[in-house]
């Protein structure tokens, strides 16, 4: 039996535990300090070289993009877009923070450390710092890249990026402060800011955005805003730190589990597995639904279920609807040459979330075996509803595509739009029906160890088929190019559907 006095005497601090763990790790170190320094040198050198190449490419792109934007309407739209992107990155930061915690621990830490009588606050404080340290640079880089491409002055880019970084850190702190309550307020705020960003984009697309400027940012008003944001963020961080002891293990471990699953999928470059993880998590959190009975028979039962599924997934529909703005905004930004490509990419990324039934049946032979029809029939049935929605989506982009084409008839615009949508549909099918990496294949050496050859191309999967369908439209943006594109995408799609 352990008395209360004995229990108190066993209390240990996080610092001593960390010291102990560091000692263990040092005992088991299998690399020398020299090897570590050499490896760090390679990483730092690679980061600098790749970063310099990326910045150089963006500066070049900035010059090219600027040449197509000579009207005040176009420059106004670009300035407005950068402001909207600041709101957008804060919304995304909040949503991501709510999904992972933002303060979280790995399942191992949850099971082994948090069950001991340690003082949790120092441990959790470091996690809060980590979350902020990830969010702030991510917001900074995103807004800086958009500002750079939009042609803003370097001074304005610096101040706007700093605003985004501080706002990102503040958003993380706010999400931490609300974490003990389940993060509902975080999600609500993220949703509000996301809707605000979408509305802003809509106004840009309609040439009705509120007038925005950035020149004043490099003067005292800009510094005042920065100072105020720093103050607010400091207060939010203080509040977040004070709330850390209120966090339960149940608030901390799910985010760590999610990150562990996602990092496992991403480490294997298996992006579709990451998709599965996110979809499974979304529905596990929902727990129950109102069951819907009825429906037709045969393969149409699967089609009917997709209609139910679509009604049940407002997030997926909203994502697809929001992505509809992309081609219109791109036209407004004076980037007419890229509208078809942007349209295909937006349909691909925005449409993915409506095809979960195709993915589930694609990776689940046991489930497909339950249906009294062929694998191809099951796959085709799961394509009907989301494919139809994507077709409507592509028809809705026809005005934007038409504006981007020289001397195009209405028929050309519609056919090119539908062809871009079909290319996106084939790309989605290619992406979702991909198998896991096959480690029985020959392996090639890489800095990350031996990897199967197929793994290297897995990040391009989907984009390859999209390029196949989009290239004919870029070469011949008319009815002929559209017919060639649809024929190519259709062939790929029918192969993917019938492939065992």
């Amino acid at each position: 039996m352990t008395s209360a006095t004995d229990a108190r005497s066993t209390e240990v601090g996080a610092r001593s535990l960390r010291r102990q763990m560091r000692a263990w790790r040092r005992q088991r170190a299998d690399t020398t300090l020299y090897e570590e320094v050499s490896e760090a040198y390679v990483w730092v050198f690679s980061t600098i070289v790749l970063g310099a190449m990326a910045i150089s490419a963006m500066v070049q792109a900035r010059v090219t993009i600027a040449s197509g934007c000579s009207t005040s309407s176009c420059t106004d739209a670009r300035t407005s877009l950068v402001w909207a992107s600041v709101v957008g990155v804060v919304a995304v930061t909040l949503a991501a923070a709510q999904a992972v915690g933002p303060v979280m621990v790995t399942p191992a830490t949850g099971a082994w450390l948090l069950t001991t009588p340690i003082d949790r606050q120092p441990l959790l404080r470091s996690r809060l710092v980590l979350a902020g340290a990830v969010a702030a640079p991510a917001c900074l880089v995103t807004v800086a890249a958009i500002g750079l491409l939009a042609g803003l002055s370097y001074g304005s880019i610096a101040v706007l990026s700093a605003i985004a970084a501080i706002a990102g850190a503040g958003a993380t702190a706010a999400a931490t402060a609300w974490q003990p309550d389940g993060g509902r307020r975080t999600l609500r705020l993220a949703l509000m800011l996301g809707v605000a960003t979408a509305c802003w984009m809509l106004l840009i697309a309609l040439d009705a955005e509120p007038p925005t400027t950035v020149d004043w940012l490099t003067g005292p008003p800009g510094w005042t805003i920065l100072g105020a944001l720093v103050l607010i963020t400091a207060l939010l961080i203080r509040r977040a730190v004070a709330g850390l002891p209120r966090l339960l293990r149940a608030h901390l471990v799910p985010g760590g589990s999610l990150l562990a699953s996602l990092s496992g999928a991403l480490a294997g470059l298996d992006l579709t597995l990451a998709y599965d993880v996110l979809v499974a998590r979304r529905w596990r959190n929902a727990a129950t639904v109102r069951p819907v009975r009825g429906g037709p028979g045969g393969a149409w039962a699967l089609v009917w279920r997709d209609i139910v599924r679509l009604r049940r997934s407002p997030g997926a529909v909203a994502t697809l609807a929001a992505s509809l703005l992309v081609p219109y905004v791109v036209v407004r930004l004076g980037l007419a040459d890229t509208v078809v490509l942007a349209s295909g990419l937006a349909a691909f990324v925005g449409g993915l979330w409506s095809f979960s039934a195709l993915r589930t049946t694609g990776r689940n032979p046991g489930l497909v075996r339950c249906f009294p029809m062929s694998l191809a029939a099951v796959r085709a049935a799961t394509l009907v509803v989301p494919g139809g929605v994507l077709l409507l989506w592509s028809l809705a982009t026809a005005p934007a595509v038409g504006r981007s084409l020289d001397d195009a008839t209405a028929t050309d615009a519609v056919m090119v739009s539908v062809a871009a949508g079909t290319a996106a549909l084939a790309a989605i099918a290619r992406w979702l029906l991909a198998g896991p990496p096959d480690y029985s294949q020959p392996l090639v050496s890489s800095p990350a160890g031996a990897v199967p050859i197929s793994l290297i191309g897995s990040t391009l999967r989907g984009f390859d088929v999209l390029a196949l369908g989009i290239v004919p439209l870029l070469v011949a943006p008319d009815a002929t190019g559209a017919l060639v594109s649809v024929a190519l995408s259709g062939s790929v799609l029918s192969y993917l559907v019938s492939r065992r």
Binding site: V279, A280, R282, W283, R284, A286, A287, T288, V289, R290, P291, V292, R293, G294, G295, P296, G297, G298, A299, A301, L302, W304, R305, V308, R309, R312, S313, S356, A357, T360, N364, P365, G366, L367, R369, C370, F371, P372, M373, S374, L375
Partner: protein, 214 residues
């Protein structure tokens, strides 16, 4: 396996399955009539699940034939899928459809008459009425097993293939399963199962094939 002269519901002849130099199945023969149950038993690694996978078409045998009603079994054909109900470990679920909706989808896909009534009856039978609105991700492992079994009972079938159906079921669930399988036999179904539960095998199986002794 049967001494009747009627054409067997399932006939397996000289089934082979090898993985490189590892020969898991080396000439398995069996026959099963309608209304009979055959249990495959044996130690881990004896090839029981591999045999089920090859017979159901989930895996491709390296040799031998599998006939259903005298026709070569082709799991791609719609007729085979209508007759064959298979519950193995590779059965997963749609993350966004409830328990009831899974069964409703299968019943409708198989064009079951009075699908809603059949679904309700099966839900009650497998003890998942209270979980009808739940999504699969929130079910316990035992409840997921019951849903997997329900997916076989909600649709028309002539041959049931079950891989360790007793897994993760509680004591009451095991008793229910034995009764249900006996009732299935009485309805004229053939049952081929792999099991490590001697009580279930004793209660259900007319024939027992020990793959560890082959």
């Amino acid at each position: 396996m049967s001494d009747t002269t009627a054409a067997p519901l399932l006939r397996v002849r000289d089934l082979h399955r090898s993985f490189g130099d590892l020969h898991v199945l080396t000439g398995l023969d069996l026959e099963l009539q309608s209304g009979e149950a055959l249990a495959l038993i044996g130690p881990n690694g004896a090839g029981k699940s591999t045999a089920l996978r090859c017979i159901s078409g989930a895996d491709q045998a390296t040799g031998g034939t599998v006939e259903l009603d005298g026709e070569l079994l082709d799991e791609r054909s719609a007729a085979t899928r209508r007759d064959l109900a298979v519950v193995m470990d590779d059965l997963d679920f749609f993350p966004d459809l409830s328990v009831l909706e899974h069964l409703n989808l299968l019943a409708r896909a198989h064009r079951v008459v009075d699908a809603d009534d059949v679904v309700d009856a099966v839900l009650a039978d497998v003890g998942l009425l209270e979980q009808a609105a739940q999504l699969p991700g929130t079910l316990s492992s035992g409840q997921r097993r019951r849903l997997a079994l329900a997916s076989a009972f909600v649709r028309p079938r002539r041959l049931l293939i079950l891989d360790e159906p007793e897994q993760r079921l509680d004591t009451a669930g095991l008793a229910w399963l034995a009764d249900r399988l006996i009732a299935e036999k009485a309805d004229g179904l053939g049952i081929l199962l792999v099991s490590h539960d001697p009580d279930l095998v004793d209660a259900v199986a007319d024939w027992v094939l020990d793959l560890g002794e082959l």
